[in-house]
Symmetry: C2
Subunit: 445 residues, 2 copies
């Protein structure tokens, strides 16, 4: 069994030492707003994709220090008894609003706004960033792939190329961005994602001949299965594959190509299948694909793409470069004060942000982000500019908004991504490096 444990120790130690010092000095209860955002998009990207919101909600709910966690902290740190008591009683009781899952985002978009006491809000920093940095990175890569695939199904098969638990989250993020299924069974169980896959080269090599292997696979999985035809010679493999399905009284579902020059092979194999009369037999390709390879295969007679390494590792950008910053806090008189780091690089604008997307002539034109300590004034301002509001309530007074997790939420996220991406102007779809698809305009009310 993997250990039963809460998410509470998936946390950088300094979150706890900060709380310890703030409790001792009497500042831990100052009401605070933290925002989670990206200062920029990873270099080549035109837009980001929000994924992982449902996992954020699970992690917030599971963030508890049980006696086991407290015992570990008591033995291994200098945290005060008062701090340990605070942690033992911890349940997030504040508010979280943010971008809904599937939404596209830009530099400066406030993906999450977390409001609560300093102590309760800072404590969530590490796990919120970990989830969104990972899931958004995968979703951004996946979205480029599904857009390059122009409607042909993309299937996630990268479980073996990333951390075993990250693989499950990656499958989910890929589905948010339009992938049609995943190879990893836990993604099926945990998230209701359709799982796919039939056989590897080892299966063919287990048998004394390729024919025997194909017959055995078809006997178990039916002629509609996908046969891997490149263990020995592709042309012979295709011939044997079609024949094996017909011996079993059907037409072969698909052949899979996993090596060599996929573009050239796709044309040759399609011709061969057609010559054999196997017009309905599909071709799926799976060798080290990324968004560029998928785009290049667009003209070839390929029916679906199996993507591994590149989708689960964010295709060159394995982290979304998101940060979590204190942007406002109350002072002793209860007044809100915008705050931000001042020195050299990494400057931010203080104050809580409200975001909307301005659509003009059918396409998104501007990401409008307004800093204000008056929520209604900020919302009115966004409305006056015709901006579609981008933030939704995810947690209110510690209560999870159930609309944003579970199988229906995943389906909604996938649809939301499709329409959010469709709303972006043409340059968003380009795979080349460049500026964000739309500019972010920051205003302070």
């Amino acid at each position: 069994m993997t250990e039963t444990r809460t998410t509470a120790l998936l946390t950088d130690k300094y979150e706890l030492t900060m709380i310890d010092a703030a409790i001792a000095s009497g500042h831990a209860d100052r009401l605070s707003v933290f925002e989670l955002f990206g200062r920029r998009l990873p270099a080549t990207r035109r837009y980001g994709v929000v994924a992982g919101i449902a996992r954020v909600l699970d992690a917030v709910e599971d963030f508890r220090f049980t006696p086991d966690e407290i015992a570990y902290l008591r033995d291994s740190t200098t945290l005060s008894d008062e701090t340990l008591d605070f942690l033992a009683d911890y349940r997030f009781s504040g508010d979280i609003s943010g971008y809904a899952e599937g939404e596209c985002y830009l530099p400066g978009s406030p993906l999450l706004s977390v409001t609560g006491t300093f102590a309760e809000a800072v404590l969530l920093e590490t796990v919120l960033l970990a989830i969104l940095n990972h899931d958004c990175a995968v979703a951004a890569a996946a979205s480029r792939m599904t857009s390059a695939a122009h409607g042909r199904p993309c299937l996630e098969m990268g479980a073996r190329r990333t951390h075993e638990e990250a693989a499950v989250a990656a499958a989910r993020a890929a589905v948010v961005a339009g992938f049609a299924g995943s190879s990893i069974l836990e993604a099926g169980r945990s998230y209701g994602i359709e799982t796919i896959g039939t056989a590897a080269h080892s299966f063919t090599l287990l048998y004394d001949s390729e024919e025997e292997a194909f017959d055995a696979q078809i006997a178990a999985l039916g002629p509609g299965t996908t046969l891997l035809v490149d263990t020995y010679d592709v042309t012979t493999g295709v011939e044997r594959a079609v024949a094996a399905a017909r011996r079993a009284g059907g037409e072969l579902g698909a052949v899979r190509l996993d090596s060599g020059d996929l573009i050239a092979q796709a044309f040759t194999v399609r011709q061969q299948l057609d010559d054999l009369g196997a017009h309905d037999t599909k071709i799926t390709v799976t060798s080290d694909l990324d968004e560029y390879a998928i785009a290049a295969l667009g003209a070839a007679p390929v029916d679906s793409y199996g993507v591994g390494t590149k989708v689960v590792t964010g295709s060159g950008h394995p982290t979304a470069e998101l940060v979590y910053k204190l942007v406002a806090r109350q002072d002793d008189s209860g007044q809100w004060t915008p705050v931000a780091k001042k020195s050299s690089s990494k400057q931010s604008i203080g104050g809580r942000k409200y975001a909307g997307r301005v659509v003009a002539e059918g396409h998104a034109a501007v990401e409008l982000v307004v800093a204000s300590d008056d929520p209604q004034a900020a919302r009115d301002y966004l409305a006056s500019r015709g901006a579609r509001p981008l933030q939704v309530d995810l947690v209110s007074g510690g209560e999870i908004n159930e609309e944003h997790r579970g199988p229906a939420a995943l389906d909604a996220a996938r649809k939301r991504h499709e329409s959010s991406r469709a709303e972006l102007p043409y340059q968003a779809w380009r795979l080349s490096e460049g500026e964000p698809a739309i500019p972010t305009v920051m205003e302070v009310l």
Copy 2:
């Protein structure tokens, strides 16, 4: 609570459909050898680093299909009752040998050899690859960083930049490769790793002034703490930091720089600290470091490096590109047959491999990999060439060799890596792209 679940569904569906077909055709029990290896090292790398072996042993032990997993599979797949019964009873009962954790490796090094029936050995493919592809990628990057740091401590702080569970494994892999500690508490609890960290910019911003924040931190953590001095102005920050420690009756432990030109700042801040008489106050730097930045900081008066994104994401190579291939299996008469995919690219040499490292004139000279169906002959051959044997018994008849997991194993792995890396010739230490540090020679006996 995170769900209690076994590792069994961290598995690609096709492992199960292959078993289903092999059981039906009567081939599932053919004794087989699978090998886990890299065809090449990621482009810039001179050597790989084995990390994750202890996690592999845990995953093998936990690989069980409980009634929950069986129920999911019965509902969502076409697996036969016979296959489901096989899975319900599954415990790996074969042998696994492989490279010990911390060892350096080269292209073609057989990191794991898994011997058992086809069904029991193929089933482990996904989770074994996931663990080693992730952990070895992190360890390879971490090893480049610790070698570039020339003895200055490197500290892992990347939890927020990768999947939350991957972060725990990454901390462990970094420690195998010489890192001195980690920011993530779960790495402390799960693996006994020293955890580090004091405060972020948000802590300083919580207070009405930097002085108040420094006083509060020192009151809780003592003057030996590390103060983050770049929230406002670095020079003023350093002055206030030293003064705050002295107000509390001590000398400041360290200052942390997290932005700006770290090399220039390190010199300025060191001079300032010395001018203030704070000769023992150390400087730690933490802004987007990788092995190149660490090397460049070698001439600057820096005492330790905090590394985030780049170590947990493998510094440009988030996966180690390892594969798991059937290399030999018995036929119906019980004869061993070497097998390998034949078509186009991705060719492998069939047959079980035995590996040794030939050391000449004090340095490793050749990775000798011998394919043979006679273990004793292979070992004798390696001995005749003066090769240090590289494979150890990890699992024997399903029993885990406990020497290779637990806190003592982590410590041993760290020492093993230090000596294995020291044994490599000089070119191994170069950060630039190039050939593997030593050539791999493959022979078939």
